[in-house]
Symmetry: none
Subunit: 240 residues, 4 copies
DNA sequence: GATGAATGAGTGTTCATTCAT
DNA sequence: TATGAATGAACACTCATTCAT
């Protein structure tokens, strides 16, 4: 059982406790009671600072996400060439996901609108719009809640997608002419679906470690080098 | 709101309704009330047939899983060579996941022991054993419940892992000498961690479609051909 | 797990199963599902023969009670003198309760109106009437149900009470002049409250065996001899 | 319908309501809904304070039991000689049971392990151990729950048993040489089975008043004097 | 600013009873 | 006659949220 530094401000202690509990239990099964017990504070305090369960979680996520985005932008801007941009992105992302696997699984799977029968897309004005695949009405407040998590995924993916897009544009990466892979790109984003698909494909596996095969102490650089090699050159021993 | 054929036996209607509700809501947020309302039946009927929520879900999963395993074994045995085995596997798996994405997301993420602070592994006798990463006791019945879902993941992965393992053994696929990727293989399974990692990496992305980029009507064969090509030869336009 | 002779008529098998289950679980916690499973029959059959749970239980009790009453009357009529009548009564009762302890505990405690805030008594016509101690109305059908169990207790006690009453009337037993022990006797029954109290006092202990102190194989005659001696002469080594 | 003083703290009101409802309905048939309705509170409040139904009931029992044990020890230590110790014990117990008849019936009959096919006894270390008479497994938590009620019975009996044991040891009370009455005594407790049997026999009848023969206003001292006389000298008018 | 007592809608589960076959 | 599928009211228990202090 983690013990939280009693000298920290209550707000910080709640966030630390929330991270611990959400990571272990998932969003739905985490309880505010466990969080305040761990933070050694009262329920009123939690609500004073965060308003409700969802805002508490989002605050947690948002802070980390913003920091991650800064890092991703900085580190990939610095790198030179597709390959080193890719490796920079992955190094950064892998380190992040290793520390925040539990929380990001929640965003990717539990809170992802796309897994709740809801299809987020852009309308003609380039604004996000949610469509229920089952014809149900989506309440205004649900919409806002769902969308802000979706945007987080989108932003994180977009950095990688941009790299891949550039790679395709300048002929470094394949451009597979497969019409069935839908283009969800908009003028505003210029992401081809293929790039998104590739991006997702690329690091989805990293985030999870379903079978715990990757040693927790291993060096990021070495692992990402392997992954980038697989991604660029494939798993075959020689061209087939 | 789907309407279920009123002439079907209650048991079938419950299963159909359960699939619908679990797929949309996830395991925890799905309620038996919604299921019976959709199935137009009583709660007692559901419990008569399935005993409890978890058994209802597992019944749903098990039936589909068994059928899938039969198909996977048959279709990959028939195929000749690593590449066509890979493609056969993916064709089969992709078709399956497209129909059962919601349910399989639950198994992969929500019910996956590895995402609940629990580490499943083999003991010296080759039997499964669960270890809590947080020092909490795992109740006997929780253990059984978690394990049966984990075994499903394991079985489905193992077919692909075997193909990849063979590919490495005969030099067709790379064998990356990366010691930090842990070997979880046991004498009984002979799965190298790399094979597992590759297997997971390979189709994790397919299962999800976070961004709905793949058209629902697209041809499986064409898509899997692209994926296999990516997997074998990589995304680079030429060897780098 | 008892196995019931499959050649017996369904009705008999249900009664045998019901006796087993009620004895082990008590009235409320016994389930009809367990009974029909043990009887290897259907729910409809049970309801066809017995109508509802309470009738099933009462049928079980009534049959045994009627046989017991016959025995009690016969055996005490035969005996000569208070002491041997007492001993005869106790022998009979003890043997009965040993075989039917579980069922009779239900009648004495679980279904006893007096333990449910209800006071059964005679009205001016000598008819039974139930009065709620909490001012609640007693539904007509509840009244009938409660009363029939109460009458069973009453009848079984009355045989002993009559013996004790006779003993007091002819000076063999003490008549303690304690006005606070209420007279519930009616012209029809002529039971003084003291006799009832003594009767109850006498064999209440036998029925229960809270601490399992009495060996299941012990001889009835020997035990009842001790009890009657205690009852008549007390536990003191000499008159005190 | 009792009305509970609205100025009392919720916790106290729940306890008062619980006592009322458990006493009238018995343990199993008492519902928490009725309790909270009577206490005029919410279900969450009940669970906040007591955790579950069984803890609520046990809280009720434990408090009263502890107070009773103090009184029993004090009052019997003060009394001089077997007879006055007996009378002191009975006075105390009778007063207690008159106020708590409903609750103690539950402990004696409904929750008594010995009435659920379970045999509590000491093992070689003097620790309590439960054995199922029907070969069923006893779950760890069921064991703890059953045992704590059994210990209450045991403690209350033991005070009296000690008095009776002393009476036998110094020849004041009969020692009936009846081998069939099993010795459950352990070195730690030195209770002969006879003493236990006598103790139970003695006051089992008092607790219940199946037939309401004892006037609720009657004086304890007078009644216990009669009972002790019956117990010591028997019911016969003269030695028989 | 901090608290925690109080709440009640909601959730999985049980089981006596009904009724069409 | 015998059945068992179907039911739904009832129950113990959970937990996000409110609000008076």
């Amino acid at each position: 059982m983690t013990v939280i530094d009693a000298t920290l401000p209550k707000k910080d202690r709640i966030l630390i406790a929330a991270e611990d509990v959400f990571s272990r239990r998932g969003y739905t099964k985490a309880t505010l009671d466990e969080i305040i017990a761990l933070a050694d504070t009262g329920k009123g305090t939690l609500y004073k600072y965060f308003g409700n369960k969802d805002n508490l979680f989002y605050t947690l996520i948002e802070e980390k996400h913003n920091k991650l985005m800064e890092d991703l932008h900085a580190i990939t801007a610095e790198a030179d060439g597709i390959r080193s941009k890719l490796q920079a992105y992955l190094n950064c992302m892998l380190a992040f996901l290793r520390s925040n696997k539990g929380l990001w699984l929640i965003v990717w799977y539990e809170l992802n609108a796309a897994h709740q029968g809801i299809h987020p897309d852009f309308d003609e004005n380039g604004d996000w719009v949610l469509t229920s695949l089952y014809g149900e009405e989506i309440a205004k407040e649900d919409e806002a809640r769902l969308l802000r998590y979706y945007k987080i995924l989108w932003e994180e993916i977009s950095v990688l997608a941009k790299i891949l897009q550039d790679g395709q544009d300048n002929g470094y990466l394949k451009y597979t002419n497969c019409p069935e892979i839908k283009t969800v790109a908009t003028p505003a984003h210029k992401l081809t679906s293929e790039a998104i698909f590739g991006a997702y494909h690329l690091f989805a596996g990293i985030a999870n470690g379903v079978f715990h095969v990757i040693d927790n102490d291993m060096d990021n650089g070495e692992l990402t080098a392997i992954i980038v090699d697989y991604f660029l050159n494939g798993h075959a021993a020689q061209k087939v």
